[in-house]
């Protein structure tokens, strides 16, 4: 397991670094704001950055994809932050939820929380744009859009159903 070392840089951001099997040290600085910086440390002086590249958020995502990581969740995290007042989230429907087995219409989720279900994921199968007659089942994942508070309320309802 690679050990990633985290350092706070006051006024700058956060530095994560680790040592590769090849012996080289690599660091990523997440600057306050959107900038990311990739740094490669000097072999002779491991305290010193010998080469670095600065990237925008988008470029960093491209880099991550090229490296083979999945950036889906991070992408959604960013969306939550980037669009003020509008959030997208994936909410699991717990078997304990009283909503499990009810149709979307019966839950009256939108009038309660202002949150809309834009898609359901059942097992591996996505169901985009479900209608009010669609039944919610335990262990479905609902993709919801709304305000932060609305989504928090919806998450509670999906977890227990109590109101």
């Amino acid at each position: 397991m690679t050990h990633v070392h985290e350092t706070k840089l006051p006024g700058v951001g956060t530095l994560h670094e680790f040592e590769c099997e090849s012996g080289e040290r690599v660091g990523v600085i997440a600057h306050h704001g959107d900038r990311r910086e990739v740094a490669i440390y000097d072999r002779d002086d491991p305290d010193c950055v010998s080469a670095s590249a600065t990237m925008t958020n988008n470029e960093a995502r491209v880099m991550a994809n090229l490296l083979g990581g999945t950036t889906m969740t991070e992408h959604l995290d960013d969306l939550r932050q980037e669009i003020q007042g509008l959030a997208i989230d994936w909410l699991p429907i717990s078997p304990e939820s009283v909503y499990a087995g009810k149709t979307i219409g019966e839950t009256s989720l939108r009038s309660r929380t202002g949150v809309s279900i834009v898609a359901l994921v059942r097992g591996e199968e996505p169901m985009p744009a479900p209608g009010p007659e669609q039944t919610l089942q335990a262990d479905d994942t609902a993709v919801v859009v709304g305000t932060d508070e609305g989504i928090n309320a919806a998450a509670k309802l999906f977890a227990t159903g109590g109101s």
């Binding site: 006051p10 006024g11 002779d44 002086d45 010193c48």
Partner: protein, 404 residues
């Protein structure tokens, strides 16, 4: 119908415009030569002040008020740089380094002031001037040299954080001492001011999220008005409590975080650039250039001594964090730059008029180290590299000797 500007304002616009164009030109020169713009703004101020090349007639008053707003904005943005959590972490992990920094770098200024036979308060102000490094210049140097990711950088930044916190207590202390009066009155006043600052700091760290949520607004225009208004009001109240307006603005900056912080920085930076430039120019403007040459030699000596003490601070602190020799050299050299906050402190002395020699000395001192500090930081990398190369070749030689 729009009223035509009065003849007086025509003169004001021309003077102010000429000052700004002049500053812009000097900024370009600084960028070309690769030095910070602060020293050149100081020189520009010297040129248009008393005994300068051209003396401003009408713009001086505006520049003076602009300069005071500049200090508020400088400190507000400094506070915005840090979250409460970063402050407490830096303080927890690096307070020994902060203490060494304070002792090593406050003493030379204080000692010189005493040797020169100054009032003890003037000597303490000179101590503050030699103590505090320039966060602005150092941030730029780290970025320019690509040293942000270096392992000594967290040490450097943590020292800057402790300096800023010390300043938040030092400024009210000096404000109290400068008013003077009975010993008991002064100590009571200072205790109240310091207690107010500490309370405000704790509140800012604790309730920062909630304050930020109230202040934040999606419209940049509204955010700008809210922030500037808040900083000025808190600054004014702090000034009334003898805790200095700058410290009030710093605390407002600390309290803001999250989306408010990010947006605040974007709307305030252009404003800060304008007023901070006026602040540096105004400081130069108050000083008669004729007083500068006699101060230069003393300033140079003080600069050499305090560059050495900052080097020692950086070396010791980096060593404490397990950084090897080249990193220690870089940390020390990076810390040597003095700039905006030394001028903030010197500005207090000039405004109070307690020691006529302090202004020119501080100006010359900042000129030397605002230019010399970044040059030293740039030189540190090659020096550090040659140290590495030398130790490596020595190791290799020793290895081959062992083998034969």
């Amino acid at each position: 119908m729009i009223l035509a500007a009065s003849p007086g304002s025509a003169q004001l616009f021309i003077e102010l415009g000429a000052v700004l164009v002049g500053l812009a030109f000097l900024g370009r020169v600084a960028a070309r030569v690769g030095i910070p713009s602060i020293p050149l703004y100081l020189i520009a101020g010297l040129a248009v002040g008393e005994g300068g090349v051209i003396e401003l007639l009408t713009a001086r008053e505006f520049i003076e008020i602009g300069a005071q707003i500049g200090v508020i904005l400088l400190l507000l943005l400094l506070g915005l740089e840090y979250t409460g959590e970063e402050l407490t972490t830096a303080l927890r992990d690096h307070s020994p380094s902060g203490a060494v920094d304070l002792v090593l770098n406050f003493s030379p200024g204080l000692a010189l002031g005493i040797v020169l036979g100054w009032d003890y308060r003037a000597a303490m102000l000179l101590g503050g001037i030699t103590y505090i490094s320039s966060s602005g210049i150092i941030a730029k140097v780290l970025e320019d040299l690509g040293n942000t990711g270096n392992r000594e950088t967290p040490v450097v930044l943590a020292i800057l954080v402790t300096e800023d916190l010390v300043m938040a207590l030092y400024l009210p202390l000096m404000a109290g001492l400068l008013i003077g009066g009975e010993f008991l009155d002064i100590s009571l006043e200072i205790s109240i001011a310091v207690a107010a600052v500490i309370t405000a700091l704790v509140l800012a760290i604790k309730f920062g999220d909630r304050i930020s949520a109230v202040v934040f607004h999606r419209s940049d225009e509204n955010l700008l008005l809210s922030l500037l208004g808040l900083a000025l009001v808190v600054g004014g109240i702090a000034e009334q409590l003898q805790a200095s307006a700058a410290v009030g603005a710093f605390l407002v900056g600390i309290a803001l975080n999250g989306p408010a912080e990010h947006a605040a920085r974007n709307v305030l930076i252009p404003l800060k650039d304008l007023f901070a430039a006026l602040f540096f120019a105004f400081f130069g403007l108050q000083i008669d250039p004729a007083n500068l040459p006699p101060a230069l030699l003393v300033a140079l000596g003080l600069a050499v001594v305090t560059a050495a003490t900052k080097m020692a601070t950086g070396w010791w602190s980096a060593k404490r964090s397990g950084i090897s020799v080249p990193g220690r050299i870089r940390a020390g050299a990076t810390l040597t730059a003095r700039g905006e906050f030394s001028i903030v402190i010197a500005g207090i002395a000039v405004a109070e008029g307690i020691e006529p020699d302090l202004g020119p000395l501080a100006a010359a001192y900042v000129l030397v180290l605002a230019i010399g500090g970044p040059l030293l930081a740039r030189a540190a990398d090659p020096i550090a590299r040659s140290v590495v190369a030398r130790t490596r070749s020595r190791d290799l030689k020793r290895e081959s000797e062992v083998r034969t």
